[in-house]
Structures are given as structure tokens and as C-alpha cells.
Symmetry: D2
Subunit: 288 residues, 4 copies
């Protein structure tokens, strides 16, 4: 494995300026930290800088609090926000689903086998159907039914679970309810949704049926952050599969399942490895 139990990650972003990389790397050197892999990018249009560094402290007594204390001032000078991720850290996650389970099943499998750096705190659904599957994995399942009238109360319930579990990330693994504008605001930048089309193509409902009607030769899926504009949030990952004249709309739905779960798993994996940066309505994704 490229990362071991001594590998820390520091990620940061700030306005473009001279010395942005150096502020991180010179500090790491001073702290006797060896850099195993580093990627930086400067968006020339947005004039914004991004960096992700995997490093290994060369002293046994590496002290994260002292590291932060020392680095805070330097970061402040550059207007830099940063995040320090410790070895083996797993992102606390709440997953939301409805009845369809192909994305959920995939995330649960990767979670169970330790191949995704997430810690699933709870699964929330507006239907009772998937409790059995979730329980088998030893995870809490919250069934919060919802109608047009009870939406705000239900979203309050959801929000409470997110708060109480300390979830950093919410994953909408085919949750088929439209979230209120207020909920979208609360979740902006901390919730990843899977949409079953290559956004911005085929926004809205039944994208595979739209795709069939257009006679496309490719279908795809988009994993994106939630923002206030439904189906328009910043894109993290997109994948496609080939289809033919012989695939009716229902076949596209079937074929799409593999693409959806692979795309969502990829986005969540990138997020959990601190490879995703959000700014304006865009993402930087430092892939392997």
C-alpha cells in the first residue's frame, strides 16, 4: 500500500501568490517530515492554489497539536485554510437511500472489507425496505418516512442524526427525494449525490428514459456535491458505459447500476483520501 500507518496528509488551499508550496514544504522539512507524494495546482482563472501532501514524520514523537500550533501562523499569512489528516483516519459518514440498493450495497461491501476510508455511522431512508441489509452489516438504520407535508420535520430528523453522529460527510446513494433549499444549504459541500446521467445532460427525473428517447450511444453517471441548485452541484467524478439500439430504457436502467455505484464509490474514495477540493462551483481532484 502506498500509505502506511505513519502516513499523514495535509491539504490546503489559498489565493494564488508567491511561496504557496514553500510555506507547506519548508515547514514539513523543519518538522522532520518526509514527503512521500505531493500534488499542487494553481487555477489561473480563479487565482486559487491547492495542495495535497502525504508525509511521514521521521521522529517518533510527532505531535499533531504542536504541528498545528506552529503552522497556524504561517497559514494565516497566506490566507490558507488547511486540514491535517492522521494515519488511518476514517471519515464519519451518514448514507441516505430510498428503496434502490445497488449503491448502498456497494458502499457497505467496500466499508466491510476496509477498502474505503469511511466510518458509516448510520443509514437513513424514507422507506423501511433496506433495514435488513443494513442490520446485517451491524449498522444503525433510521426509517424516516416523508410526505410533502412532513418534509421539514423529516429533514430535521435527518439533520439531527448528522449532528449527533458527528458525520463529516453525507452520501446520497440514490435518495429519491428532493431536498429543501434549506437542507441543501446545510449540506452544501459536505454531501455527495449520485445522479444517473452525465450532468448537465438529462437533469431531473428519469434520465435513462430521456437518454433512450434521444437515442444516445453512451450512458453515464455523475457524482457531485450538493448545492442549492439541484443537479447543478460541483462535479467530482463521471463515468460512462456504451449502449446500443438493443437497449431499451429499462435496459439502460440496468446497465447504469454498475456505472452509478462505481462512480459514487470513486467519488467517496477520493473524498476520504482528501483528494477533493471544492471552490466556486468546481472541484480539484488530485487522483493517484
Amino acid at each position: 500500500m502506498s500509505r502506511n500507518n505513519n502516513t499523514w496528509i495535509i491539504t490546503a488551499q489559498c489565493p494564488s501568490q508567491l511561496g504557496t508550496v514553500d510555506v507547506v514544504t519548508s515547514f514539513l522539512k523543519a518538522q522532520h517530515c518526509y514527503i512521500a507524494e505531493q500534488h499542487s495546482f494553481d487555477d489561473k482563472r480563479a487565482k486559487r492554489f491547492f495542495i495535497r501532501t502525504e508525509f511521514e514524520p521521521q521522529t517518533e514523537a510527532f505531535d499533531a497539536a504542536a504541528f498545528r500550533d506552529g503552522f497556524n501562523n504561517r497559514a494565516a499569512e497566506f490566507g490558507m485554510s488547511y486540514e491535517l489528516t492522521e494515519p488511518g483516519f476514517k471519515v464519519p459518514v451518514v448514507i441516505m437511500v430510498s428503496k434502490t440498493d445497488h449503491c448502498l450495497n456497494d458502499l457497505l461491501y467496500r466499508h466491510r472489507t476496509g477498502k474505503l476510508n469511511i466510518d458509516i455511522k448510520a443509514v437513513i431512508s424514507n422507506h423501511p425496505d433496506l433495514e435488513h441489509l443494513v442490520s446485517w452489516h451491524g449498522l444503525p438504520y433510521h426509517y424516516f418516512p416523508v410526505t410533502a407535508e412532513t418534509r421539514s420535520e423529516q429533514e430535521e430528523q435527518i439533520w439531527q442524526v448528522v449532528q449527533e453522529t458527528g458525520a463529516e460527510l453525507v452520501v446520497l446513494a440514490r435518495y429519491m427525494q428532493v431536498l429543501s433549499e434549506d437542507m441543501c444549504k446545510k449540506l452544501a459541500g459536505r454531501a455527495i449525490n449520485i445522479h444517473h446521467s452525465l450532468l448537465p445532460g438529462f437533469k431531473g427525473a428519469k434520465p435513462y428514459h430521456q437518454a433512450y428517447d434521444k437515442g444516445v450511444k453512451l450512458v453515464g453517471a455523475t457524482a457531485h456535491f450538493i448545492n442549492e441548485d439541484l443537479d447543478e452541484g460541483p462535479i467530482i467524478s463521471q463515468k460512462v458505459d456504451v449502449v446500443t439500439h438493443s437497449d431499451y430504457a429499462d435496459d439502460l436502467v440496468d446497465k447504469g447500476r454498475d456505472i452509478e455505484r462505481l462512480t459514487l464509490a470513486h467519488a467517496v474514495s477520493c473524498y476520504a483520501e482528501r483528494r477533493v477540493f471544492l471552490y466556486n462551483n468546481r472541484t480539484v481532484v488530485f487522483s493517484r
Copy 2:
């Protein structure tokens, strides 16, 4: 090679009904024709049948005229339109371009090396720039400049070349002028255009810049038949390539060139091998 100099192709379509395959295959057997490869498909929604058959006459004296005479009555019973393509047939083609030459260069190369079953009769452009390239390949180049005022005269010139050369197919290899509705009607179903996006996403001008603004992680191209509704014609082929945050709009333009020329070449190749069927606003493409 799967096809040799004795391989004929018969393609046909008609309304769905009992005996559609048999009408073709029993006739082929009666004519002592061996079927090397066959593909048929019935669109259950449109209730329409499609078939493509590669066959090899087992008698030396195979007579295409007699074959047609014999088959016409049977086809008529089924409301079947069909086409018989002789061994080594090359589709007479007129290519239209503007200044950008990546698609043209690719088609010329495949044509020159005999890897595309087309016979390029002429290249038409609204700019003089690409004459040198076309002349080197020994092909006629028509420079027909156009302004808003002269569009109908210029399209008349184009149409005349199409007529005089006997072109069956017009290939718009990045021809950057909008065609009149009248011209679109004339070319409907017999002209293939390459659009530099995954239609119906990013219709209209500057699709790569639209794609950049949306922060997509994939760009693509679409080869489609021309119809009256610009950028909405029946899709023949679509391909994609991966892009990252590090690709600015100009980089997408650069990356897109390979996808565009591969997608267009694929569509033209499928057409030339009689693998493409057009109906309603869709295509059937029997790929290898």
C-alpha cells in the same frame, strides 16, 4: 479479413411481422448464397425490423440484376426496403470543412490507406486554407466562400457538387457554418456531422467552453445524421475522454480533437459497411 472479394451485403428494414428474417434467408438459400454473418433486430416500440446480412454466392454466375428482380416481389409483400451492396463497393462521399483539419486529415489518411470503404469525390470548404492538404491527396477542392447574404447561392454550389459527383453521403468534418433549413432537408439522412460534445449536452457554439464552465470530468463527441433540427439529428456514435481540473477550455479543445476524429471515422466506417439504419429519430448500428 472478415470480408473478401466475394462478400455481398444485403440490408433491409420493414414493419415488424412474422417471417421477416425468413424472407431474406430463404431467398438467399434458394440463390445458393452462403451467409457469413447476419444480424437482425426488431424495435418493439417502433414495431420495425432491421437486418444486415453478409453473404457469399456459391455459384460463379451470381447475377445481381436477377437477384433484385427475384427479390423485389418478396420485399414488396413485406413493405421492405432493401439495399444490395457489391464486394469492394466504396461509398461516394463529399466532405465539407472549414479551417480546422483534424477530422479531414484523419479521413484522408484512412481513405489513402484503403481502411475506409469510401470514395472521396470532392472536398468543399468555405475557406481556402486546406486546399494544399487536399491537393496532395490528389482530390478536388472547392472553395465556396459564404456570407449571410450569399448563403443560398453557396448552398446551391454545394448541392451542385453533391449532385454532379453522385455523392451518396456528405460528411461534415467540422464545417463551422449553420446550414439553412432547406439544405438540412435535402441532406437529411445522407449527411453525417461531428459535434464536439456528448449531445444533447452542450448544444450550440463552443461546447468545450460550456463544458469547462460546468467543471465536467469527461468530454466527448457525437457523430449524427443531419436533420432539420440542428444538433438534434439521430446519433450514430459517441465517444469520451477523461479530463481533469488541470484542463482549461483550450486544453479541452486540444484533447477533444482525438475523440472527434475517432468518433467521426467510426460513424463513417459503420455507414460505409452498411451497419447503420435510420428510422424515426434513431439509428440501429450493427457493430462488429
Copy 3:
């Protein structure tokens, strides 16, 4: 869905000769069967013919036994072996595994959600580890430990399960034991194995470590029929994923899991839909 509860499939192969397609299609017409999709191919080197036809009887009283009775003579004339598959038929399958469960989990999920036309009769393993997973899916689990000394007895146990369950197909979903030559013979053509490399590259043990040592930029997986020559059986499906310098051998193992399960699921799905034909050491796969 392209197939409904009235869609039968007939598949056949025989030596190349005049009238091979007609023998099938004229009989179907005579039986008042409508052909929804058909694909035939003639291997010119092997001089062997293959056909797959989806058809829908237009009479309510379609009688499969009578169909077979009627067709047997015609097939015999052509030296044609054929198979008639009824609507909704699911292939009886026995799955064999060791400790690794990514392929098994994937097959169980597709089976549970009805997306794979197989009927899993039993799972056999040389380890007890995966019983919990299999039991949760309500399927029998046979733990047959094996040592070099007990191989023939253990294979006898396996064979007995295959016989008793009436399994048509055995799927080796990362079964990490070498089968005896005798067992390979018994399973030849009726067992699909997943090998974690692009065969014939990286045969034998630890293919990802071999791949890492060679510094490849792609890894892949191969689903193939078992035959007597280990890792040399006829290939059904192959898929790849991109890797980089940053992926160590263990990372390749991780990345490979998705490719392995998608490749195996694809091969099993093609088999179950009667799209795979075996001859000499090759396959014909009529994909959608």
C-alpha cells in the same frame, strides 16, 4: 426489457455449409415464431457456423417438445447441435470460492436482485470464512477443506454437489486451489474461472505482483472456460483498468477487485443469456 416472458432462445452450431441460417429461420416461420433478434457468425478458418435467435411464438399453444421433435431431423441433416431455452430460464449454478469474497459478493448481489439469469444451487469453499455471507442470502454453503493428500476425495465431494444440484455451470469465483487434471476434464466447457490478469500475460501465481514488477500501466482480468491446460482455457471476457507508478503491488490487488468482479459477472451473464459458444480453444460471444 428486450426480452419478455414470451421470449425463447435457440442457439446452435454446426459445420459451415449452405443453408445454415435458413434451416433455423424457415422452421421458426413455419412454427409461427417471430424473430426478435438474431445473430449468426461463420468462422471461416474453423469452417464452423454459430447462431443465436430470440423468438416469440405467435400462437398460444407453443409446444417445446413438438418443436424439438420437428427440428431434430433438420438439425441432424446439418450436423447441428442446438439448445432451446425457455422464457425466464435460469442456469443452475454452483459457485466455488476460497476466502476472498469480492467476486462472490457481486454474484450474490446480482442474483438476489434478479439481474443475472442464474439459480445459485450451492456455494462450495475450501475455507469456512464465507458461510455467514452465503447463509444470509439463504443459500447452502459446503465447506470442503483440502490438502495435497485429500485432493481427490475433496474433488469427489465437489463433483457430487455438482451432480446432485443439477448444476449446468460451475463458477470459480476466486477459488485458489489448483484443480486436478481429472477434475478439469470433467468441468471442461462447463466451468468459468476468473483469472486476475490479461491472459496469456502473467499466468500462474501472484499476477499483480508480476505486473508490478514489469511496471505495466494497465492491469486486467480474464474470465475463461476451464480446460485441461491451467490458465489457458478459452477466453470469454477481458477488462482492464489504468494503473500508475504510484500503485504498488498491493494497490494493484485492490484496484483489480473491481475489474475482476465486473469481468466475471459479464462472462456469467453472457453465458446465462446463451450468448457464448465454445469450439476448439475459442469462444464466439454475441454481445448485445
Copy 4:
């Protein structure tokens, strides 16, 4: 474009040790150079460090000679070899071909349209066939015929052209002659070859025919550095395409052409952008 006419590139490698990134970045900061994009990687098995940095001097009077003078000492302390590449630099290249021109044509096209940062100094062939194509692009063509007896003299001629043109890189664009061990040594690490298989699978002659015989479902190409062991040099890029039972060996040859030229162009492009690092028998490729 991500790079403009003020973008310099520094690339370096050295043994793994504390401070490897800092030695580069702190110097760049001291020289008032802004880092636009940076990628570093440490191979933990080989204990070797690699870095590629795109930077923009913020002072008008940036002096490359002074930069080198200043950096040499620091680099020496780390045992670091480095390369400084100026804005707009094009790698001087000699291309070698035989009769097949699909890779050559592709490289010439990209060169002509300015999409590949190479400066083609000459094309060398053991056949006269491609002179016309090369001359049309205004480039020198050397026809050096070769027989088993004249190999060493011919290779001497080649080497002289490489020397005289100051070529940094030799591209073997389907040069179908085996090079002598001596020539391989001379070209080791500075010549890129395209092999028409997914090495190490199907080494040696006629790889597509080998692939056909094995019944593979994917074919591919490998661009690799030349070393003394033919077909075993360090891999830079690999790509694949799907094939079916319907593709005979000759069809694989045809299909492979697109993959070959895309793979070779990708490798040459990565090299020209200073994204490729060679060590032991491996490469690091920092892709976009």
C-alpha cells in the same frame, strides 16, 4: 492553455531523504518563482524520489544560467540530477520507420499543427516508400537500406544522423528491424518504441496473430523505452481496444493501428512535457 510562454519546468530525481521537495521549492521561492503545478513521488521500494514542477518567474530578468549556478550545489548535496526546460522548448527528435506509416502520419500531423512539443529533425527509414509523405511536411528523409550483412554500417549511419541533428530522442514509429545490442545500448533511455501488444504479453513477431490464436477479447499497444533486452524496456504508456470473435488476425492489425498511434503519441507527448522519469527498469509518469 495550462502552460504559457512564461512557464518553465524543472524535473529532478534523487535518492529518498528528508527535504527532497523543499530543496526545490525553497530555491524557487528564493528566486521569486511562482509554482503553477507540482507533482512529486517517492518510490518506497526503490527508495528514489521524483519531482516535476511548472513555475513562472515573477521577475522579468529571470536568468536560467544563474538559476543553474545557484541550484547546482543544492542538487549535489542531495545527489539530485535535474533538468530545466525553458518555455516553448521543443524536444529535437529523429523518427525511424519502415513501410507502415500510421504512427508516422500521426506524429507528423501533430507536429505540423503544433500539438506536440517536438522538433522533428529527420526521418530515417530502411525503405524508400515514405519519402513523399515526409517531404510534403518539409522534413529530411534518410533512406538507409539494411541487410543482415550491412547492419552495423547502417546503424552507424543512423547514429550519425542522431548525433548531427542533436536529437535528444529517437522515436521508433514501427521500425521493423531488430537493433543490435550495441545500438540498443547507445539508445537506452533515449529512444521510445511502439510495440503492438500489451507487453509483456505477445513479445516478438506478429503479436496480433499470436493474440488471434489465443482468442483474446482485447488487443493493445505498449510504448516503451528501448533497452538492451528487446521488448522488455521500461513501459511508458499502454492502451487497449475491444475485439470480438468476428475479428480475424488481419482485422486485429487494422484495429490496432489507432491504438498504436494514440499510445505512441501519448508517450511522446508525456516525454516532451517532461512528465516521464526513468529508473531501474521502470518509469514514473506524472500525467495531467
